[in-house]
């Protein structure tokens, strides 16, 4: 096995090289090339050109397609935006760089926190189930814990006083206009989802930064059945996947058990949200141009005038074994256009739902220089491909004059970047199994270890030195959410929490509740192998022996590990292990010079029963690493959420540097900033708002 080049970086570089300015294509004329299929409501245009001197910039461009609303990204902003705009009578084209819709939503846990007295809070308050009889689980919260209105939710999401256990303030910096609109649209968005085949179970708590005062989260599910039938709310077992064994094209991660929130037989995760929305969009006539990366937003003038459309380049993803292009699960509504570059005109508006910046090392390093390390990827890396989460929506908006918002909020949520406990895979956040078309791109599921299992190993940096107490490495604190309380940084729990109370932010409270181990920062620190100019921290390795595998019963066989993807190694001796890592891991730039000494030192600490370097031994037993064979598995940090992006107002319009909306341009979800709510809720509401307002725009 030889070291592989950083293929992601190469692909991204190519992407950058393709970029041309609007002036360039006005001057030279657009390429010809018309899609094979005409969309419902969308227009395939002729290739005839018109003399530039006689026409407006919009007419000078040779548009390949045209629709009322063009949506960038088929994720949890894009799909609801597209459906909503279509519901209101607009023709819609959705463009996505990936081969299959769903975005990050598809691999999520489908936990949707809304609130403000949304229909599911009211359903639980009334003690009712759903019309189909799927939700039979008992209510999980009291009436009081579910009762609120939009004003109450708005206060929760803009509460200056709330501090989390990492001493971060997650709500005070939120954009007020945006969150007023969010609170006012939660009811309608929940209702909208249910009207588009999305089933959700009981309200159960609230997850990260969804507010601390009331329960607001519902998890999406489908019922396991003989066939997959979105309208009937069923998913076949082979589509749902087998937990800890197999994925499917339908569900990149095996769907979990939803008995607690719905009823026995309910299967949950992002597939239960993304697939129904995709199904509904296709059924309603939304057109999809997949394998198509948006490179540029076309505006009348760079910093003035209406947004006219987009330029997008062909971005197919190929199976590494067969070379065949990966194809979407469902095909109806697809426009299969393989020309290199196309232009799509938006008669009403462009909506950016292209995701965040977690996979763009240059962009994310604005927040944290250590994250320029290209080894570390965004969650869903294999699923989304190298162009997923590449900040292209934000960058395209900036190029036409958009302002940014919430740029510091990446630091206000513990899940933004962290070290998940999945070893031996580059995407340490997502537990994909064989069965999904992108599995071969990652090669291994990874060894998913609970935190306590870290007592059986040590973790070293790129030169082979330990850098932190291993039992704290995956620990992260933050995410202030109901039911609040000291574990999440607030002095009071549940209904006792008081909004806007100065005591929440008092020094005394922070002293009492601060619990952030800061391990991620130790992992990203410079070390003896860091070199100018970027001083990359390099890969991180979990080192363990045969005894650990036997003791804690780890499955280290494929598909959990791969013998060839360079993220897992086995050797007879520690010295051989170090040599193999250096030879065959793509991002191991320096030898692990200290590994043998580190292991010997660790074994001596175990004999003594104490770890003078990092205080292991006080919370869990220590074990020697001495029984061959020896193993090394990556323990990669991952950038999961993105906060900070295009500034949008309460109508989801993108705002320019003068504080004015850019006509015809909308955005939401992780392409936008100023909303520090974790998960799907904010993106779904943004999409709903954007679709509503985009459809109401006048036609150009």
């Amino acid at each position: 096995m030889a070291k592989k080049p950083d293929s992601d970086q190469k692909e991204r570089k190519l992407q950058g090289e393709k970029a041309v300015s609007r002036r360039d294509f006005v001057k030279t004329g657009a390429v010809a090339g018309v899609g094979a299929a005409a969309g419902v409501g969308a227009t395939v245009l002729s290739t005839s050109g018109t003399a530039l001197s006689q026409v407006s910039p919009a007419d000078a461009i040779q548009w390949n397609y045209e629709a009322d609303v063009v949506v960038i990204g088929a994720g949890c902003t894009g799909l609801p935006a597209a459906i909503r705009a279509r519901d209101l009578g607009a023709s819609v084209i959705v463009v996505d760089q990936n081969f299959d819709p769903g975005g990050k939503m598809l691999h999520s846990g489908a936990q949707v926190s809304f609130g403000g007295g949304d229909p599911l809070q009211l359903r639980d308050i009334a003690g009712e189930g759903d019309k189909e009889g799927f939700v039979t689980a008992p209510r999980q919260h009291t009436v009081e814990e579910l009762t609120e209105d939009a004003d109450f939710l708005f206060r929760d999401h803009t509460d200056w006083s709330v501090m989390d256990a990492a001493a971060q303030a997650p709500y005070r910096y939120n954009e007020r206009d945006l969150h007023r609109a969010y609170a006012d649209n939660c009811y309608a968005t929940r209702e909208f989802l249910m009207a588009n085949h999305v089933r959700m179970g009981r309200i159960s708590g609230t997850h990260g930064n969804g507010g601390v005062s009331r329960a607001r989260r519902a998890v999406c599910f489908l019922m396991e059945g003989a066939t997959t039938d979105i309208k009937k709310g069923t998913v076949a077992r082979q589509d749902a996947g087998i937990p800890n064994a197999s994925s499917s094209h339908f569900a990149p991660r095996p769907m979990g058990d939803g008995a607690k929130v719905a009823s026995p037989g309910a299967r949950t995760n992002g597939a239960a949200l993304a697939r129904p929305l995709e199904f509904s969009a296709r059924e309603k006539g939304v057109q999809f141009i997949l394998n198509r990366h948006m490179d540029e937003i076309v505006r009348e003038q760079q910093f003035s005038g209406r947004v006219l459309g987009i330029r997008a380049s062909y971005s197919p993803r190929l199976d590494p074994q067969t070379g065949a292009r990966l194809e979407s699960l469902w095909q109806n509504g697809n426009i299969d256009d393989r020309s290199e570059t196309i232009f799509i005109r938006a008669r009403k508006a462009v909506i950016i739902g292209a995701g965040g910046h977690g996979a763009n090392p240059q962009f994310r390093s604005m927040f944290y220089p250590a994250w320029r390390e290209p080894a570390f990827v965004s969650s869903g890396w294999a699923l989304l491909g190298p162009r997923g989460q590449d900040a292209s929506g934000i960058i395209a908006g900036m190029r036409v004059g958009a302002n940014l918002a919430g740029m510091q909020q990446n630091l206000s949520y513990a899940n933004t970047f962290h070290i998940p406990g999945i070893l031996a895979t580059r995407d340490s956040y997502t537990d994909m199994f064989p069965g999904h078309p992108t599995f071969s791109l990652r090669g291994s599921t990874g060894i998913n270890l609970p935190n306590d299992s870290f007592q059986h190993l040590i973790v070293v940096n790129q030169v082979g030195k330990r850098f932190f107490n291993e039992l704290l490495i995956t620990d992260r604190k933050g995410g202030a959410a109901f039911p609040a309380g000291p574990a999440r940084g607030q002095p009071k729990s549940g209904l006792d929490h008081v909004q806007l109370d100065w005591r929440n932010a008092s020094v005394e409270n922070i002293r009492a509740t601060y619990a952030d181990p800061n391990s991620i920062h130790a992992a990203l620190a410079m070390n003896e192998g860091s070199r100018a100019p970027d001083f990359f921290s390099g890969p991180i390795w979990a080192i363990f022996d045969r005894a650990a595998v036997e003791r804690d019963r780890w499955n280290i066989d494929p598909p959990f590990t791969s013998p060839t993807n360079g993220f897992f190694f086995k050797a007879d001796t520690i010295e051989e292990l170090a040599a193999k890592i250096h030879a065959d891991h793509e991002f191991q730039r320096v030898p692990l010079t200290h590994l043998a000494v580190t292991v010997a030192k660790w074994n001596s600490y175990v004999d003594k029963g104490t770890d003078p370097e990092f205080a292991r031994g006080s919370d869990a037993p220590m074990y020697k690493i001495d029984k061959p064979p020896f193993y090394a598995a990556t323990l990669y940090p991952v950038w999961h959420d993105s906060y900070g992006g295009l500034r949008i107002n309460g109508r989801a319009q993108v705002i320019d540097m003068q504080g004015e909306p850019i006509p015809g341009l909308y955005a939401g979800g992780e392409s936008s900033g100023g909303g520090n709510q974790h998960g799907l809720g904010r993106a779904l509401v943004h999409g709903y708002i954007a679709g509503t307002n985009a459809a109401k725009e006048g036609t150009t």
Binding site: G208, D545, P621, K627, P628, P629, H678
Partner: protein, 310 residues
């Protein structure tokens, strides 16, 4: 054709690169030669001869490339000598007459160093608590960096004062799951007083056949007094109260595993301990215990929450 009296004389310069220039005994090394002439001359088809220190032929390689100035050979792969040390071989370009020019013989030294093979030593299955004066067993594994069979290779066990307390010879047996780690079991006598001692295993230098360098690894020998008291630990799932078999109980340095009834029994010396009970997918249970008599402890373990993903 030029007559003998018309013949011109030319000069030949040759050089040879050897890679690696520090090479394991008996391992392969690659030689690449280049020959330049003045005046320039295409010597393709001619041969570069390699001779060892005694002047005996070690190999030959043909000049196959010419770029107008320099002639180059293909790679010549040779086995390094099996004895460690510094070597200077030579490469010779024989005299040749080419297009009326006579080129005299030329040679160049080829210097390299042969080193003994590295060996790596591993020691495991060392009991965590060894009672004073009692015998105990450990496993010793040794591997050659280049994969040599180390059957009959000797090793020694040295105590904390550097005294050799045991010797061993590697059998042909390899440790399961490894590619070539020879393994032997050794029985040893514990020191006569309590304490933590650092002992070592040394792989002896070997001069038989291919030389192997000496190498070693330290290991700890924790010697305890005669345990006086019996500690019984009952381990259950906190919610279901189901016994947890196979749970690991640690009262440093004592270690034991629970049986099928979730019970572990361990004899310990009088003293203060931190009792840990850990089991896969459970949060580790820990509590301080003071042992001054036989005692029973109960550990109720909570399942470890599964991280949310969204």
């Amino acid at each position: 054709m030029a007559s003998h009296s018309d013949e011109m004389h030319g000069h030949v310069t040759c050089a040879v690169d050897v890679s690696p220039d520090v090479v394991d005994a008996g391992a392969e090394m690659t030689l690449r030669g280049k020959v330049s002439c003045s005046p320039s001359c295409d010597l393709r088809g001619h041969t570069l001869l390699v001779k060892d220190e005694a002047g005996a032929d070690a190999g030959s390689v043909e000049l196959t490339e010419f770029d107008g100035e320099t002639n180059r050979t293909n790679a010549l792969v040779l086995k390094a000598p099996v004895n460690a040390g510094g070597y200077t071989w030579s490469a010779m370009c024989p005299a040749v007459v080419k297009e009326g020019t006579s080129y005299i013989e030329a040679s160049t030294p080829i210097s390299f160093t042969v080193t003994p093979h590295t060996t790596y030593v591993v020691a495991w299955d060392i009991p965590s608590d060894i009672v004073v004066g009692e015998r105990f067993k450990i496993k010793v594994g040794i591997k050659c960096s280049t994969g040599c069979r180390l059957t009959n290779h000797d090793f020694g066990i040295y105590d904390h004062e550097g005294t050799r307390v045991a010797v061993g010879t590697l059998p042909d047996e390899r440790w399961p799951g490894t590619a070539g780690l020879h393994v032997a079991e050794v029985e040893l006598d514990a020191p006569a007083s309590e304490g933590l001692y650092t002992w070592s295993v040394k792989s002896q230098q070997s001069g038989i056949g291919v030389p192997h360098a000496e190498s070693s690894i330290d290991f700890g020998v924790r010697v305890v007094g005669h345990p006086e008291y019996l500690v019984t630990i009952e381990t259950v799932d906190k919610v279901t109260q189901t016994p947890l078999s196979g749970a690991r109980v640690v009262m440093h340095p004592y270690r034991v595993v629970t049986d099928t009834h979730g019970v572990a029994r361990v004899r310990v010396a009088k003293g203060a301990y931190k009792l840990f009970v850990s089991q896969t997918n459970y949060l580790t249970f820990g509590m301080p215990v003071e042992v001054a008599a036989d005692m029973t402890a109960r550990a109720e373990l909570d399942l470890e929450p599964v991280p949310e993903r969204n």
